[in-house]
């Protein structure tokens, strides 16, 4: 019997065919903690009396969540990370470098067949590169920093097969939101979510990452996509190990399959206050929008900023619009291609590469009663720092149209 993509990557590590439900111990190729989770990781690591980090070149800290720091308490936690990184030879990406889930692939830490753990729930993003990649907590991360290994339950797999190609006003984010609406916020709990089909093969790396990023919003342990020519093109020159094309076997066993016809998709919104409360934008009606955020580990990449710039070129936004490139590399590329100038001239605020308003920790916090349209991945009550605001999740294209008109708008 064939293996799913998750089973295949695990089998490459343990040298035999794993079965779903089994507990396996895997060596880790990259282990990342960010400023929301690293301080507790350090506390646990030191509490364990662990003496040294197993391999500093595979251990990574990213300061992206409250970046730059907005208060003394956070600054002290950032310093704690810098000191630990220096003492133990941990790779550190400091303020302004970008969001962890953009930096890991950009800087060559992620490769097909690798095992990646991150003390951040959206670590499932790296499955876009056929890496087995999942979020863990701080103490699990301390165990990885101490030993280089961790236990995992071999997941069952939900296959999401997207056939055909999407209409011009639909982005991969819409496909992900549609799937979450169908599967539900816990429909894929403990499972690997494998995205397949013609639409996925034709998607750019940016589009693929937006989908695997959202796998955790249906409960998934990881989102996975086979590695191919598109993956190779992105990773070449970044990774230090040989590139592998890895895909699921024919005849692999899937716990469930969701078939999606890309041609029938339309722009979607995840409505307040649950990610799986998904509706077509066309059904929402005239809802005034106070704030728009375009950015995050879901949709802060070059393709996303480009989509917004196409809509906003030569026009003025009617809602407060905050844009944050996902990384310094993204920022520079958007500067050089004129995207940043278009956005700034249209009235957008362009901020430092980082998580920004998504986590509600420092800036861009909405006011009570505000309606926010955001390209991020969570709209839980209070997520952006104000429990009395409403957050709609959208594609960058939809978000840009909402910014332009100051109300919820179906993109053309």
């Amino acid at each position: 019997m064939g293996m799913t993509l998750a089973e295949k990557i695990i089998s490459m590590k343990i040298g035999r065919i794993p079965s779903p439900g089994e507990i396996v111990v895997l060596p880790v190729d990259a282990a990342m903690a960010q400023d929301g989770t690293a301080p507790l990781m350090i506390k646990s690591f030191e509490g364990m009396d662990a003496k040294k980090v197993w391999d500093g070149s595979k251990a990574i800290f990213v300061i992206d969540h409250i970046s730059p720091s907005s208060n003394e308490g956070t600054s002290a936690l950032h310093k704690m990370m810098r000191d630990f990184a220096k003492r133990h030879g941990v790779v550190l990406y400091d303020v302004g470098e970008g969001i962890c889930h953009q930096l890991l692939p950009e800087k060559g830490h992620v490769f097909p067949g690798g095992v990646v753990v991150g003390a951040d729930s959206h670590t499932c993003t790296h499955g876009a590169f056929a890496a087995f990649s999942t979020g863990i907590g701080s103490t699990d991360m301390a165990a990885v920093f101490a030993s280089g290994k961790l236990w995992f339950r071999v997941p069952e797999t939900l296959k999401i097969n997207i056939t055909g190609w999407m209409p011009g006003n639909v982005m991969s984010k819409d496909a992900a939101l549609y799937a979450i609406g169908e599967v539900g916020a816990d429909g894929a709990t403990y499972m690997s979510v494998e995205f397949t089909g013609e639409a996925v093969s034709r998607m750019s790396i940016d589009s693929r990452m937006a989908m695997t990023n959202m796998a955790v919003e249906m409960g998934g342990k990881t989102g996975l996509i086979a590695s191919d020519g598109v993956t190779r093109e992105y990773l070449e020159g970044r990774i230090k190990v040989p590139f592998l094309e890895i895909s699921a076997d024919h005849g692999a066993h899937y716990a469930d399959v969701l078939e999606v016809e890309a041609g029938k998709l339309e722009p979607m919104l995840s409505c307040p206050h649950q990610v799986d409360n998904v509706k077509p934008v066309s059904e929402i009606g005239d809802v005034p929008v106070d704030q728009v955020f375009i950015g995050s580990c879901t949709n802060g990449r070059l393709e996303d900023l480009e989509a917004a710039a196409r809509v906003l070129k030569g026009k003025k936004v009617k809602a407060r619009t905050i844009v944050m490139p996902a990384s310094r590399e993204t920022y520079l590329a958007a500067l050089q291609s004129g995207i940043i100038e278009i956005l700034v001239r249209s009235g957008c605020v362009v901020g430092v590469p980082g998580c920004g308003p998504c986590v509600g920790g420092h800036h861009g916090v909405p006011s009570p009663g505000d309606v926010v349209v955001s390209t991020t991945n969570r709209n839980f009550k209070g997520r952006m720092g104000c429990a009395d605001s409403s957050i709609y999740l959208a594609s960058p294209l939809t978000a840009a149209y909402c910014a332009l008109n100051g109300k919820i708008t179906v993109p053309e």
Partner: protein, 173 residues
Amino acid sequence: METLKGKVWKFGDDVSTDLIIPGKYKFKTIDLGELSRHVMEGADPQFASRVSKGDIIVAGKNFGCGSSREQAPLVIKHAGVSAVVAKSFARIFYRNSFNVGLPLVECPDLYENVETGDVIEVRLLEGRVESMGKAFYFKPIPGFLMTILQDGGLVEHYKKRGSFVWEEPIKSQ
């Protein structure tokens, strides 16, 4: 640790880590005394001031969904809650809870049969919850997680043994 008796606080489905401990607090400090003042604030602002030592949270499906923040099970434990019994848990929250020494029990049948204020008894090793003389059963906690729990969480576990339980061969669930 093996038998926990306490007063129930009942919550619904999809209680996210943002409701358990809003992100705006967790970036400023890792002091649990300070953070625990906001435990469950998003779901019930009264909870932090009313919860007593030994109380048990009962919840619907997907408890602890959302971010990987370990502060979520930590503040629940620090507030004195002895266990969480839910229909199901989000996976990162599940791992984190055992790592910090907070027992979790997946017992879907209990939910409709208890209300806030009821007293229940959770028998971890037997896989049984008792409420008002009725018994509800759950799949016992895997042995290696029970070991971590009995050691008082993963930090104490490693400190005590100098290795992790999973570095020895683990029997599947």
